[in-house]
Symmetry: C2
Subunit: 263 residues, 2 copies
């Protein structure tokens, strides 16, 4: 399958092409439902002084924070999941935070890079959207919601889980559990099915997506742990400096989900 | 199933009972083929100054180093996998190393504990021995061998993978791959099947187990990543201070492998 950007003359077929299009600032769109067949990851960049506790937080909360790779201090190249890539330029959009506050959105972070920064690549559920479709589950709107599901804290990193919500039929929900059980490296199986109130998810006030007043009859909401959780937790911890991808604008690795399912 | 220690009057049925028997120094034996149904882990205790790089090493090498839990600095209680347990007393035997050299073997490390120590619990293949037997694969001698399979380094932690070898028929090897694919938290599927030379495993000089001059006809050696790898790597890195379990004398957690297979 290929991804077509109306700006580009030729369709993008490989992860390398996708990253280079972003590096050359030819690809400004999100990555949702794009680049099927390649593992997509969220990005969190933190100073190395925060690394140990953030690593511990991810280790203790593998559902929202499945770590794919962590780079050495100062190294912008993800040598395992995308050798040759440059995490300072190979995503379409970055969000910069200082002292726990959003500062700006940029298309390149080369000028902000420092010797003490480490990049955390965290599996994204955008990776399994294609597999859900191929299993006969139609595209759903994807909401991002706060929940009250607690994460296990580590050092200063603490806070509740952020979740994604997709709508489907009960039969499709059963299939979705089967499909995503092969994606433990990208949030894996759902954390909840059904009543949003049971996990404190306020569908009237989503973080992302249209507000919902009522769940339609016949629709079963299915909730997955979301990769926005570590960003949210790092922000709440007042990290002095953090760079992330802009939600929906993931990093495209060279890894094949089908291969990762059978490690 | 129960585990009977000739010293104890009553059989041990739960992980808590197993840990308390070790704490009271009533259980001095190894844990191989004991306490089926509970996740067993290897133990590595290191100063917090080594923690970030050791965590990175484990993250980059999940086959030999599947992390189950990491305790906070100074905290000897594994609050997630065995709440109430004390890692300073609840294993049968510990090995103490200083400046990269083995110093002594002890039954309790309370007197050695410090505020800056962190405990890493790493899934042990002893956990799946019971499942192999229930799948019709007879008990095999378990050899521990050095190999030339490289690990991905992290900071000062680097070195080749240590592997375990079990003997079985080709049909049993196929079943063993199926069985252990459900144990990604305890080394998972084999890293190699067949010719030991291909992974540089010297069966004439095993680290543990009887030397082998020749593989008998009809026997297929099957190799798994071994939890001795992180110990071996930490030693080679000249860690100033390290405590580990004595091989074959694992920590017994409250976790159920059947549950962990479906996370």
């Amino acid at each position: 399958m290929t991804s077509v950007n109306p700006i580009l003359e030729n369709p993008i077929e490989t992860a390398v092409e996708a990253r280079l299009a972003m590096r050359r600032r030819e690809w400004h769109l999100g990555t949702t439902h794009q680049f099927p067949g390649w593992l997509q990851t969220n990005l969190v960049v933190l100073p190395e002084s925060d690394a140990r506790d953030f690593l511990l937080f991810c280790q203790r909360n593998p559902k929202p924070c499945p770590i794919i790779e962590v780079t050495d201090p100062g190294d912008p190249e993800p040598r395992i999941s995308a050798p040759g890539a440059d995490l300072r330029s190979d995503l379409a959009r970055y969000a910069v935070y200082r002292d726990g506050q959003f500062v700006e959105e940029v298309e390149d972070i080369t000028h902000l890079w420092r010797d003490d920064l480490m990049a955390f690549l965290i599996g994204s559920s955008l990776t399994f959207d294609d597999s859900l479709i191929r299993a006969g589950i139609p595209r759903s709107e994807v909401w991002v919601l706060n929940s009250t599901i607690p994460c296990i804290p580590a050092g200063k990193f603490a806070g509740p889980m952020v979740v994604t919500m997709r709508w489907m039929t009960p039969q499709q929900a059963i299939t979705a559990v089967q499909v995503t059980s092969r994606f433990s490296f990208a949030h894996g199986v759902p954390v909840h099915i059904g009543d949003p109130d049971l996990i404190g998810a306020d569908i009237k006030n989503p973080r992302y997506g249209p507000p919902v007043s009522e769940i339609p009859k016949g629709v079963l909401p299915v909730f997955w742990a979301c990769g926005v959780t570590p960003q949210s937790v790092a922000l709440a911890s007042n990290s002095k400096f953090m760079i992330t991808h802009v939600p929906g604008h993931a990093f495209i690795t060279d890894l094949r989900p089908e291969r990762l399912s059978y490690r």
